[in-house]
Symmetry: C2
Subunit: 232 residues, 2 copies
DNA sequence: TGTACATCAGTGAACGCGCGTTCACTGATGTAC
DNA sequence: TGTACATCAGTGAACGCGCGTTCACTGATGTAC
């Protein structure tokens, strides 16, 4: 059976996890730029070259952390939505709940958030493996708007003619079943949500916004409005 | 007269400028994390220790670049607004013009944008000198909304009671003369504008948004709506 | 079940690199008398 | 106007640091017969 593993295989899984955990800890403490294989190895009581049995390079380790971060924030969003849905929340409440969950995750994991939504790590370019996990939050938001559309419908202004072809293409590519107006607003809202969180996290709200929970909830509610979610 | 300078003083001004220019070039090429005093000195044909006659540390040089970047993007915003105003544009058109100018600046100076609006540089904390220059873009946006308010007025939904005290405080702190509803929406819009630009710049729109000019103009126009700027 | 060989995790030394910062110095520019 | 001294830009060597990656190796685990 494939569930019974030899000592070698079990050890490999455990050590790989330990490396990622330690790397995540360093990431949280110092940020991506300071993440070094040598420091991780040191902390684990290994010699730095031993890590090359598990990750062929520093970049591969970073990629693994990025994928994990995308999955982690994606799960946070999906679970928040599932809870809201279980509580029979209306689309607008689901939307706000997901936004708040994403923000809460970001505040708990600021460096991981910066890793995936902040400025790109110099010299590193994300490989294709990250595309799937990267879209979980977006897909959750799409799901909420789709449910609203199929229910009471959406309240959206008409698209300018110049944007229609692009909105139609985006809809076909990743938001099937939505009206193109909704897709365009949704993509913008997703970026805007990240802007709100980034500003808070990266210090732009220092000396500007003090009651940040209240402020964010209001902004997220307004965003729900811009994607056409009905008030009631 | 203080306008006649000795050779020493003139040289100092020129060399300081040359150091900043070269540093900016390296920043543009490699990003903030890779900016090194040694590399700048090398490129300038100086010995690395000579830079310490001009900047007491690497962080001071970074701070100078940050201040310059804030000023540069601030000037871009202010000039765009002045041009729109000279063309007798209505507030909404001024708003969109400023948003587009900010985006254009960001696309031309991606690493400088990342330096000021991206994830914080590890180990670096911005000193107080940056506060003034940092608020130029925001002040430009405030000015547009204030002009609209004093003209035809703003179209804004009422504030939730929980947010009112914070909105009143923000208004008193940096947006005197605006109704508190406008201040709250404005701060959110400012962060959302940065989110739109960051997503485009940092690659989140890859495989998502293709016709980015059109998309951005639409999103900026929608933002004008959320801050209450009248359509006509 | 036992043995011979293959696989693979981890070691330790080394390579070559670049960095920020300090310090005693030289020589040119500026200043006071 | 000329001279003596003070100021300051730039030099060159050095300190101490950490990094990613390679490579030949040892010894334990796994596998085929």
């Amino acid at each position: 059976m494939s569930t019974v593993r030899g000592a070698r295989e079990r050890a490999r899984i455990e050590v790989t996890a330990a490396i990622k955990d330690e790397a995540r800890r360093m990431l949280a403490a110092e940020g991506a730029a300071k993440l070094s294989l040598r420091a991780v190895a040191r902390e684990l009581g290994m010699v730095s070259s031993a890590l090359y049995r598990y990750f062929p390079s520093r970049d591969e380790l970073l990629t693994a952390l990025i994928v994990d971060a995308y999955d982690s924030i994606g799960v946070a969003a999906e679970e928040a939505d599932a809870r809201a849905l279980a509580a029979a929340a209306l689309p607008r409440a689901r939307w706000v709940a997901v936004c708040e969950a994403v923000r809460a995750w970001a505040l708990e994991h600021p460096h991981e958030y910066a890793l995936i939504y902040g400025s790109p790590v110099p010299g590193y370019s994300a490989p294709v493996d990250t595309v799937g996990p990267a879209s979980r939050v977006g897909n959750t938001l799409i799901g909420i708007v789709r449910a609203a559309y199929e229910g009471r419908g959406l309240a959206l202004p008409p698209l300018p003619a110049a944007l229609r072809p692009e909105a139609v293409r985006m809809t076909a590519d990743f938001a099937q079943g939505l009206p193109p107006e909704a897709t365009a607003s949704l993509v913008a809202a997703w970026a805007q949500l990240a802007g709100l969180i980034s500003f808070e996290l990266f210090g732009q709200f220092n000396r500007v916004v003090e009651d940040r929970d209240t402020f964010f909830t209001h902004a997220a509610t307004q965003l729900a409005h811009t994607v056409g979610l009905p008030t009631t």
